[in-house]
Amino acid sequence: MNESESGHSWLSLGGTATVAWTERLRRFPWSLLLLLLLTIFFGFGVLYSAVGGENNLWLFWRQVIQSAFGIGIMLTVSLLAGEKVYRRFSYLFYSGSLLLLAVTMIMGSVGMGARRWLEVGFFRLQTSELMKVALILALARYFHDHAKAGSLGWRDLGVPFLMILCPMAFIIKQPDLGTAVLLAGVGLSIVVVAGISWKVLLTMVIVLGASMPLAWNGLHTYQKQRIITLFSPERDPLGSGYHIIQSKIAVGSGGVTGKGFMAGSQSQLDFLPERHTDFIFSVLAEEWGFLGGVTLLVLYALLIFRAFLIAEMANDRFGLLTVVGATMLFAVQVVVNVGMVLGLLPVVGVPLPLISYGGSSMVTLMIAMGLLAHVSLYSRQHGRSV
């Protein structure tokens, strides 16, 4: 069915299939790229300190290469694809990702007690990373195709909820609570923006709250432990409370201006585990203090704000919802990671976007950013101020 005739599309480009290269470059959201680069460079500084003290500087250089690769991917995703490519392949991509998750479940390789990776030739594919992007595109497509004025009731939400819950089930089983929470957050925010009825949303919030005890029983023992520990880390200071206590000391002792670059005693003296990945924010907070921490939070906020502007200008619902999903993928990780480091949320393995060491998380985020730029690129109101 042709989009422009179907009446499903929100704002149609009226068959404008190609945009000239120069036009693409002109329309590219350079300010978004600039913000991303700033954040990434900011991250280099923190990471250098986190791994520089010991002979792990190669980790830093690897991260530099991975970041460059990430930028490349972002440009590719945004500039090279035609307008409707992502919408067209979204379901296929989703199905493929779900299948890969299932395959991972059966024959994935085990690392640190979890089954998360598929060995593909010489590298390990973390299939849940693919799913993050796939879910965003598939949900956006669904609500694009099933647009409905007013509010979406229970009946309209059955399929999208299945689309969210299926991969979550696989990922919880791995177990990878962090990614599962992420998918839930991203999925839910797309549903909210797509037009869930307020009544349904309220009911869901209430039911979710009421079913907490049930969910509690479904958790692994170590996961329960983490949540218990969150509220009283002193109960198990050498075990699961260790991260939280040490992280709080590191952050707190940073004070207003911090202890200076590579001068964080907590971080440098090996008291902070996983300090170059999930707990990198405490290195930042210890060495650069409140000013450093807030600077990064502001950078993130600007990025998110810029992304919301793109959403607002999107041509159609697919674009709008894709941007919302990609932005939330980013934002939820920031909130969960920093919340965890500051002892506000349970310790789940979620990296700090663009700062934590790690290739797969970087690539996934840059694909998401690429989608964002892509939508911006094809937005007809480009350049119009809001």
């Binding site: 009446g7 599309s9 929100w10 704002l11 647009a147 004025a149 007013g150 925010s189 909210v192 923006v193 037009g195 023992t221 170590y222 002193e234 198990d236 200071p237 050498l238 075990g239 260790y242 709080k248 000391i249 590191a250 952050v251 707190g252 002792s253 940073g254 004070g255 207003v256 202890k259 005693s265 907590q266 003296l269 090996d270 008291f271 585990p273 907070a285 203090g289 409140f290 921490g293 807030v294 939070l297 993130y300 906020a301 998110i304 704000f305 919301f308 959403a311 607002e312 619902r317 709008l320 919302v324 939330m328 934002a331 909130v335 920093v338 919340g339 500051l342 002892g343 506000l344």
Partner: protein, 604 residues
């Protein structure tokens, strides 16, 4: 599409974006606020914790709960033990350290290898136990040179001590390094290097009670890791003490009475199910598990064919032999298929389907009624009774008396024994039940298996008039009701008949257990049993040719209770390859009961 529709979507989406953005904004505000709280408001506080000093957390181990007998005599205590630990992070190259340490303490190449492996697995700032149970020479040798070894520390720790060595070792159990299974089972416990966990007995069963909760010492340490001062001490919660129902004197008497024999003794209070003594022989010394074994010692202990590590009281499964006749007799009485006055002729064997089922007495018992049949343990009487009852009725009665299933005693890995049934046989052998099998089941042979604990419980059930209590290894507190597993509705008349028959076993001149007669004229009721280990060869005349191989000798069993009128103790004894119950097992039970009555008096 209509323009106003489009506009409606647009407006709606904008509102919703605002909502999501608002939520995010609030989230960021919370994060910023928390950052402000930690860094600006409480920054000074944290800085003193972290600035030039760091906090080192040291576990303080909780003393494990002690274990007492029913009269508060300590059967398991804790005693101090020195060990040397090292914090790898502070120590420099470990291999070098171990080499230098080797001049002062005994460290084998193998141990060093194991330690290096361990060091790779755990966090480098956590102490690694280098060697425990240091001798006094080793302790003093290290103590004077401790400054030469940064990161090294001598610690005294309390270890398990079993003052009476092998006494009640199977009840108490021993400790060992946690296995993967233990880690899974006690997922709430964080095990540390060198930690120990109960591996058998009550040490295992009550692990979580006994263990307590470790405390933690927060120390301020300077840049080279030297402790500056104690900041905070989170005291450990010691484990709970256990008060066992075991009576030390009875336990000792029973163990001594068994001597070198292999087998088991269980003594129980028939009115509560409390276990007064539980012996399994041969025994071992649980202290040895603390000190550690040489390979050869462990090899010898774990592969000993007499299986000293097994608690035969609840894990040894034996054919109950004639002690099972109690069950068959009660089944006959309660179903009304046995008239107590009925006389049955025993001519030495019963012929059924061309097969001879022999009585233990070659020439037969002549004409016997129920009481006589119990007294003299006539097999033919019980063949006929079993035949009349059928296997189903026998199975039902046995289950009602707690046989063929776990008793629920406070010990892990209890074995259920076996009461055969048609369904069981169909499942196991894919064959139907043969009538002949009912006959041999009637005298406790064939497939029937029971544990000594079940037999003691069965006797307690007869003694107390039909209540099956859960055998308890914990002393009941005053006013605490015992756990009841099930109740039998024996009629008073039937119980009286059983009492008469079982009394005659001990006190009648023709009874099989004259050796169980107690001192001081206390009357007891009992039943002997002999359970066949190997099929005996017989001559044509029916004469048994016993093998001279000791391992093919029959097991001797005896179950009993006393005093007759108000039973206060029930005992089951099994002596592996002991021959006859009356001669090998009854004297053991007699000694235990004599000790009981000299201690507690004959009247209640």
């Amino acid at each position: 599409m209509l323009d106003d529709d489009r506009e409606q979507f647009r407006g709606d989406a904008r509102r919703r974006l605002l909502l999501v953005g608002g939520c995010l904004g609030a989230g960021f505000m919370v994060l910023g606020g928390r950052l402000f709280h930690l860094q600006v408001m409480r920054g000074g506080e944290y800085r003193t914790l972290a600035e030039d000093n760091r906090i080192s957390l040291k576990p303080i181990f909780a003393p494990r709960g002690r274990i007492f007998d029913r009269e508060n005599r300590a059967l398991v205590e804790n005693s101090p033990d020195f060990e040397v630990v090292v914090v790898p992070e502070l120590a420099g190259p470990l291999r070098m350290l171990f080499k230098r340490l080797g001049r002062h303490i005994d460290l084998s190449e193998e141990e060093v290898k194991h330690l290096l492996q361990q060091a790779r697995r755990q966090r480098s700032f956590l102490p690694l136990r280098v060697k425990s149970h240091l001798s006094w020479e080793e302790v003093s040798s290290i103590e004077v040179r401790i400054h030469e070894f940064p990161g090294l520390d001598l610690q005294s720790q309390s270890v398990r001590y079993y003052p009476f060595d092998s006494l009640a070792c199977h009840v108490l159990g021993y400790l060992g390094e946690p296995s993967d299974g233990d880690r899974k089972r006690f997922s709430r416990i964080t095990f540390r290097s060198g930690d120990q966990v109960g591996k058998s007995g009550v040490e295992q069963h009550f692990e979580e009670l006994l263990r307590g909760r470790e405390g933690v010492l927060e120390m301020e340490v300077n840049a080279v890791g030297r402790h500056v001062r104690e900041l905070h001490r989170n005291p450990p919660e010691s484990g709970e003490d256990l008060h066992l129902s075991i009576d030390f004197d009875l336990q000792k008497e029973a163990q001594e009475a068994m001597g070198e024999e292999i087998g088991s003794v269980v003594a129980m209070d028939p009115n509560t199910g409390e276990i007064l003594a539980m012996v399994s022989t041969p025994s071992y010394d649980p202290n040895q598990f603390i000190r550690g074994f040489t390979h050869a010692q462990w090899q010898a202990l774990s592969t000993d064919p007499d299986r000293p590590l097994i608690n035969k009281a609840h894990q040894g499964q034996y054919p109950p032999g004639s002690t099972f006749k109690i069950v068959v007799a009660l089944a006959g009485l309660s179903t009304g298929k046995l008239d107590p006055r009925e006389q049955v002729h025993c001519g030495g064997f019963l012929l059924k389907e061309e097969q001879r089922f022999y009585c233990w007495r070659r020439h037969g018992h002549g004409s016997v009624n129920l009481i006589q049949a119990l007294t003299q343990s006539c097999d033919v009487f019980f063949y006929k009774l079993a035949e009349r009852l059928g296997i189903d009725a026998i199975e039902r009665q046995a289950h009602k008396m707690g046989l063929g299933g776990v008793t629920g005693v406070d010990l892990d890995a209890e074995r259920p024994g076996l009461i055969p049934s048609r369904a069981w046989k169909r499942k196991m052998f894919k064959a139907s039940w043969y009538p002949g099998e009912t006959l041999i089941t009637g005298i406790g042979q064939g497939y029937v298996l029971t544990t000594p604990l079940q037999l003691a419980s069965m006797m307690a059930t007869v003694a107390n008039g039909g209540t099956v209590y859960r055998p308890s290894l914990l002393r009941l507190e005053p006013g605490q009701a015992p756990d009841v597993m099930s109740r039998n509705n024996f009629s008073v008349h039937h119980l009286e008949l059983m009492r008469q028959g079982l009394e005659a076993v001990v006190h009648d001149p023709t009874g099989t257990a004259a050796k169980a007669r107690l001192e001081g004229g206390i009357r007891a009721a009992g039943k002997t049993g002999t359970s066949q280990v190997a099929r005996h060869r017989r001559e044509k005349s029916g004469q048994i040719i016993k093998s001279t191989n000791e391992k093919l000798q029959d097991h001797a069993l005896f179950v009993c209770y006393a005093p007759l009128d108000r039973p206060r103790i029930a005992v089951a004894v099994i002596v592996e390859h002991g021959g006859h119950g009356g001669s090998a097992a009854a004297p053991v039970a007699k000694r235990v009961m004599d000790r009981f009555f000299t201690k507690y008096g004959s009247s209640s």
